[in-house]
Symmetry: C2
Subunit: 187 residues, 2 copies
DNA sequence: CTACGACGTAACGGTTGCGTTCCGCCGTTT
DNA sequence: AAACGGCGGAACGCAACCGTTACGTCGTAG
């Protein structure tokens, strides 16, 4: 019954509005305005702001990202770092994610949705990456995927999304070497 | 002329309000209510919300933290990790910092204030910690303090403030070993 | 003792957003 | 041809907050 093009327009408007003003200041009226749509069209689909945002965010978050398999751990790692650092440079990630993370500290429902998406992602990446490396004998058998993911994603997120400092040409290279050494030492 | 105890009450109210509802939803009226103070008392001190929050935050951010000097790099590192991880467990840090960081993505003035505080802190910690280790011969001479700081603070911030997962007993130990190896390899 | 000024309270007009309702339009279904 | 239902638009009453103002109280400085 509901028109699909209208739904798409609303979803886009929500994402853009989220990026521009954040969840806290996002208003249904602004979304309607931006989507070129009546408020009624929105309330016909969701009953309030939280429900609307959660449904839209969940959809986006559940899109799966292809995991690297280049044949060597350092290759996998380089590629992963490249993918993540590229993603974190886009507005979608660099604005919306920190905003929702901050919001999650107050709203259990947002927290749960985000954590699930995040943890699933992390686990998948960590287990595949580390599992492959261990199978190849490049990392010791006891390597903890969880700690490994922290070591890999943490610094990138910190630098790009928190400190918001640029990444120079050789940074990812240096970083790959460092992380490899760290994981070998930790086993 | 302005009464000091009132100013203190307002500052506390702002910090608590920031932690609870975040910058976006912080209202002057709520601050006044919480501080048990009239709005006039606030407007007599600051002309608007942004100015008020920035001044208060700047003050807090500029408080200097004593840097470790335990005599060895791994000792320094362990202590630093302990200090940071403890700080990040408190509401003040785990709620307010991500919130302001997200806000900074939109408000250049907030961004600048936070970046200055952050960068100053980072540089001080990085240069002292790495400098000491290099002087002792524990790290190679070319070690980049900036990358080192990313490697140290990034994973902790990620785990505690983003992923919001607990830190187990041996995590910091493992982590210390890993980071040490990473820095040695990177030189 | 007086004057000053910071204080809390209360009210102001104006803005924004909520969630709801009613309307007339128009494309689809039957 | 008629009925249905999603659509945009407009307005509703309600609530919160903005930044400002007027007023009366009270502690302190002169």
């Amino acid at each position: 019954m509901l028109r699909g093009d209208i739904t798409v327009a609303i979803r886009n408007a929500v994402m853009n509005e989220l990026a521009e003003v954040g969840y806290g200041r996002l208003s249904i009226e602004a979304v309607a305005r931006r989507a070129g749509v009546g408020k009624t069209a929105i309330y016909r689909r969701w009953s309030n702001k939280l429900e609307m945002v959660m449904e839209i965010i969940s959809d986006v978050a559940e899109r799966k990202v292809p995991l690297p398999d280049t044949g060597s751990f350092s290759g996998d790692l380089s590629l992963l770092l490249l993918i993540v650092s590229t993603a974190l440079r886009h507005r979608m990630a660099s604005q919306i994610i920190p905003d929702l993370m901050a919001e999650a500290a107050r709203n259990p429902q947002i927290a749960e949705t985000l954590q699930r998406a995040l943890r699933t992602h992390q686990q998948a990446v960590g287990e595949k990456l580390i599992g492959q490396a261990v199978a190849r004998g490049e990392l010791p058998a006891g390597t903890d995927p969880e700690v490994a993911v922290d070591l890999i994603l943490g610094p990138l997120y910190w630098r790009l999304a928190v400190a918001r400092q640029p990444i120079e040409d050789d940074y990812l290279e240096k970083f790959t070497v460092a992380v490899t050494a760290a994981l070998r030492a930790m086993g």
